[in-house]
């Protein structure tokens, strides 16, 4: 009897060591879940699909596939910025588009498994990765570059900058070698003034009239407008900054999950990936954005209307890129500085104020808007 018992014990112990058949993790049942999503309008672009119609179709398919209800609202980018900066309630929003100038809102709830980094272009995934986890589903690479056209009468080409652009300072200072230290800001602006002179009052008119050959900074949306509005060919012509910053700056707009509880979080995460891919494809076709999803690289190659050389330059610049999404505090600090000194910057570049006056103005703004 004791022998039998001992054998039974030995057998059960041995069985315990045998590999068990793995049980698949239980998929969360999302049926019946209802979430609210904030997205944005995209401009109507000739020859490109209607973004709102595409998005509505994609959402309807998602609802049907998962048995969920999605309340999709098109809001302004300002509404989104206020929501993410914590300056408006926006209660009940589970998923939101980051806008083209993303930042990580304070207290963003984590969404484990939100997106698989391997499915995305490395730099797009890295842009949104913190502590090993992706914070958003990346949609596309929103690049910023100089853009040129042939000089109509082959005279010395002129370059015009657009100092009021949201990308003007960001494209030079959002690098480790740059930074928003007042000295860096002034140094950069002095370089712009020396290199490019006084910016035209109406850069688009100057472009259309042939008074300038190169414009910067140009976003994908402006590039599409320049390409479609004038008769002259337009090409990307990246120019390095004063500290050899790459000629192509970029952000990676994406979809952020705000819901912290299940099943809303999982539902929002799944939809985030779908919406991001949808926007990435639209961006490739409409404005020459580079889709973040590897699976959509072909859309960029075939439908972006760039030349081979332009596509190559963009892809190389982006693939080697090391930019990261800023934290809310850093982003809002930079925005506050930009807003406060925009008039002073214009005055300086127009030659109406000195470098010393500009420097003082920026220092005062910096002191007023200290980072929390």
């Amino acid at each position: 009897m004791a022998f039998l018992l001992a054998c039974a014990l030995l057998f059960s112990a041995a069985s315990a060591c045998l590999p068990r058949e793995k049980q698949a993790p239980k998929e969360l049942d999302l049926s019946g879940t209802s979430i609210t999503v904030w997205d944005v309008s995209q401009p109507a672009v000739a020859g490109a699909p209607d973004y709102s119609a595409e998005t509505a179709r994609v959402v309807a398919e998602f609802e049907k596939d998962h048995g969920v209800k999605v309340d999709l609202r098109l809001v302004s980018r300002q509404d989104i910025s206020l929501l993410l900066a914590g300056k408006s309630p926006g209660t009940g929003v589970s998923l939101v588009y980051s806008t083209e100038w993303p930042f990580v809102p304070a207290g963003l709830p984590g969404s484990p498994g939100l997106a698989d980094p391997a499915a995305y272009v490395d730099s797009a995934a890295a842009y949104w990765t913190k502590d090993g986890a992706m914070l958003a589903a990346p949609a596309y690479v929103h690049w910023v570059s100089a853009v040129s056209t042939a000089a109509p009468d082959k005279t010395t080409p002129a370059t015009a900058c657009i100092p009021g652009s949201a990308a003007f300072l960001k494209s030079a200072l959002d690098y480790p070698s740059g930074g928003w230290d007042p000295d860096n800001v002034v140094t950069y602006l002095a370089w712009v003034k020396e290199t490019y002179g006084t910016p035209p009052q109406d850069p688009l008119a100057a472009w259309q009239d042939g008074a300038v050959q190169t414009l910067f900074p140009v976003t994908p949306y402006l590039y599409q407008w320049l390409r479609d509005s004038g008769g002259r060919p337009v090409t990307l012509s990246p120019e390095a900054g004063p500290r050899n910053e790459p000629g192509v700056y970029y952000t990676v707009p994406g979809y952020l999950v705000l819901a912290g509880e299940e099943p809303y979080r999982t539902c929002a995460a799944k939809l985030a990936v779908v919406l991001a891919a949808n926007l990435g494809r639209w961006a490739a076709r409409a404005i020459g954005g580079l889709p973040a999803a590897m699976a959509d690289a072909a859309v960029f190659q075939v439908d972006s209307r760039f030349s081979d050389a332009e596509r190559s330059a963009l892809i190389q610049a982006v693939y080697a890129g090391t930019l990261r999404v800023p934290a809310a505090a850093d982003f809002l600090y930079a925005e506050a500085i930009e807003d406060t000194v925009s008039e002073d910057v214009s005055q300086f570049l127009s030659g109406k104020t000195t470098e010393a006056e500009l420097s003082q103005s920026i220092r005062e703004a910096s002191q007023k808007h200290t980072k929390p």
Binding site: S76, P163, S165, Q208, Y221
Partner: protein, 301 residues
């Protein structure tokens, strides 16, 4: 009477005189001959009718001059009126004699749904829509070339029974922010189908009464067609109210950035969309005034 009053109240109508801002533009005092020629808006309508009747051959303008007075006197004689040259209600009624509203089938009961109005000043037609589909169309008179009917998306803000005269049987005031405009009847039915008013939309009295009974205060009125020459060199900023703002709102909507109703009021929604477009296209968005670059982007300059 109680039922009628309740019905009137339900449709948001008031009885009595049209609002002052409309009345100023449509004089009700008799038109008197004077040693110095009188300039009045309705003289244009008068001279048009006299010309139609073969009694006047001079220029059709707003001046009640000697030739126009003579033509009126001749008309009055032909219509057994005292040939004073004074154009009073009696003379206006006589001038309208023989002008008939085109016959049409009697309208059946209106369908269920939400009413709205669309006015096309090129076609000089007002269409009553039900849930976005056209139900019935009426001929109208619109603003003259120098006083065009404002293009935009308006709402009926007041309704009332007029006492006849230039407003005819009914009037419906619109919320155009830069002036007093409305839809009303007329005592000059010969003007329907032409460009005669200083911006209001005139209808035959029978037609305006029909529309009046069906629509309520708050009904959307969309006016399309001829616009005055727009001037985008003027600064557009929050608080502006002008035809240029309507064009800006329409251009934003066409680009995919809806500001709501294109009502010519540069409010918070329009400001937000202008800044959004500026920021999206990498243009300056800090100024209160709409940047010329944004106007250029939208195809307005």
């Amino acid at each position: 009477m109680l039922v009628i009053s309740l019905a009137v109240a339900a449709l948001g109508a008031s009885s009595g005189k049209p609002p002052a801002f409309l009345a100023e533009d449509e004089p009700r005092e008799p038109l008197m001959p004077s040693p110095e020629p009188v300039r009045r808006h309705d003289v244009y309508d008068l001279k048009s009718r006299l010309k139609e009747l073969g009694l006047y051959a001079g220029p059709v303008d707003e001046v009640y001059d000697v030739a126009a007075v003579a033509a009126v006197k001749e008309f009055q004689r032909q219509y057994w009126l005292a040939d004073t040259g004074i154009v009073d209600d009696g003379t206006w009624r006589a001038l309208a004699h023989g002008v008939e509203r085109p016959l049409r089938p009697v309208a059946g009961p209106p369908p269920e749904g939400t009413f709205s109005i669309e006015v096309d000043t090129e076609k000089l037609a007002l269409t009553l829509m039900v849930d976005g589909s056209p139900w019935r169309t009426y001929p109208v008179a619109a603003g003259r070339w120098d006083t065009k009917t404002p293009v935009g998306e308006w709402k009926i803000v007041e309704k009332g029974f007029a006492e006849g005269g230039p407003f005819g049987a009914r009037w419906m005031g619109l919320d155009v922010p830069w002036g007093g405009y409305g839809i009303h009847g007329t005592n000059m039915p010969w003007t329907i189908g032409g460009y005669y008013s200083i911006g209001c939309i005139r209808m035959f009295n029978e037609d305006v009464s029909e529309v009046f009974d069906l629509v309520a205060v708050g009904t959307l009125v969309k006016v399309t067609g001829y616009r005055p020459e727009l001037d985008f060199t003027l600064a557009l900023r929050p608080g502006s109210a002008s035809p240029e703002v309507v064009a800006l709102q329409e251009a934003l909507r066409k680009q995919g950035f809806d500001t709501g109703r294109c009502d010519g009021r540069f409010g918070a929604a329009t400001e937000a969309r202008v800044k959004e477009v500026a920021r999206l296209y990498g243009l300056s968005s800090s100024s209160q005034v709409v940047p010329v670059t944004v106007l250029r982007l939208l195809g307005l300059r």
